[in-house]
Amino acid sequence: MRMELIQPFINAADAVFAESLQAPTKILDLSMDENTYRRKGVAALIAIKGDIEGRVILDLSPEVAMKVASHLAGSKVPESDQVVRETVCELANMVIGNSVTLLNDQGFRFKVFPPEIHMNEEGLAGSADTESMVIAIETPCGQAYLNISMHYLRRRRNERNAASVMD
């Protein structure tokens, strides 16, 4: 996986959490994952299709999501699934929006799909032909996880063309 495609998402997530929570954040860990993603809390999955393709998952525990929601509201928010969903969704939108802005200004064109929220116990499938990168971010409200699987479509086309020539 190309780091230049991953870096805008890491930078955006770091900036979104730091600016939203008005406190410094820290990237704790980066690791590669080749298996189906097992979410740790409430996950928002956003798909991207175009010059680059893949998906990004933002994953927060309900407790962390509630703390973030209360921080942003300026007072304690009553706990509910809807608040948790809304919080994770909006954070994911901000992370994707900020990273997409960077990639778009670099000349990449693609479509971003609305976030899908996953709260049940099933795993989230990764792309069949790419591994993903998992980033743990330490925030003042607890840990958040970003799982990114992204690749150039152009490269895949070239690979497919090369494969068809060999056949």
Binding site: A73, M94, G97, D105
Partner: protein, 150 residues
């Protein structure tokens, strides 16, 4: 929490805002800032179509408009509102801030753009700027320049 001098209309009444975003969470966040600026929420909408109806109903001083929304996106809603109300003051608020989006919104009649996550001090300065051109707004924003503090 940061403190801001109130942004007021010329008649010394609070500036009235229409907040348009499909995320309830995002609307709450913006409304919290409006209250910090001494403003009043005239209405809320979760999509462009409702925004147009709410604009006609409430006649707000300022609209804070998201871009990506169901039914009708923010840029189309801006175009329709400005076509009917040439003096409408609309500030786009979106996490997607690439050039094409900003230009499209400005070409359709939006006055400014702010990227999410919204920093209160950035939104405050933008509102001051947009209101300074508003015949209904006081010179207060200018008079209060530099008074907000962390």
């Amino acid at each position: 929490m940061q403190q801001f001098a109130a942004l007021l209309r010329k008649d010394n009444q609070p500036v009235r805002y229409l907040v348009v975003d499909d995320s309830v969470f995002a609307r709450k966040n913006i409304i919290k800032m409006i209250e910090m600026f001494g403003g009043e929420v005239a209405g809320e909408a979760g999509d462009g179509l409702t925004a147009i109806a709410e604009f006609n109903r409430t006649k707000p001083d300022i609209v804070l408009m998201d871009i990506t929304m169901p039914q009708m996106e923010g840029i189309e809603a801006v175009e329709r509102i400005v076509r009917q109300h040439g003096d409408a003051r609309i500030v786009m608020v979106s996490s997607v801030g690439y050039q094409e989006n900003i230009l499209a919104a400005l070409q359709k009649g939006a006055k400014h753009f702010v990227q999410k996550p919204v920093k209160p001090e950035v939104l405050y300065e933008i509102l001051r700027y947009v209101l300074s051109d508003d015949p209904n707004a006081t010179g207060a924003p200018v008079a209060f320049a530099g008074e907000h503090r962390a």
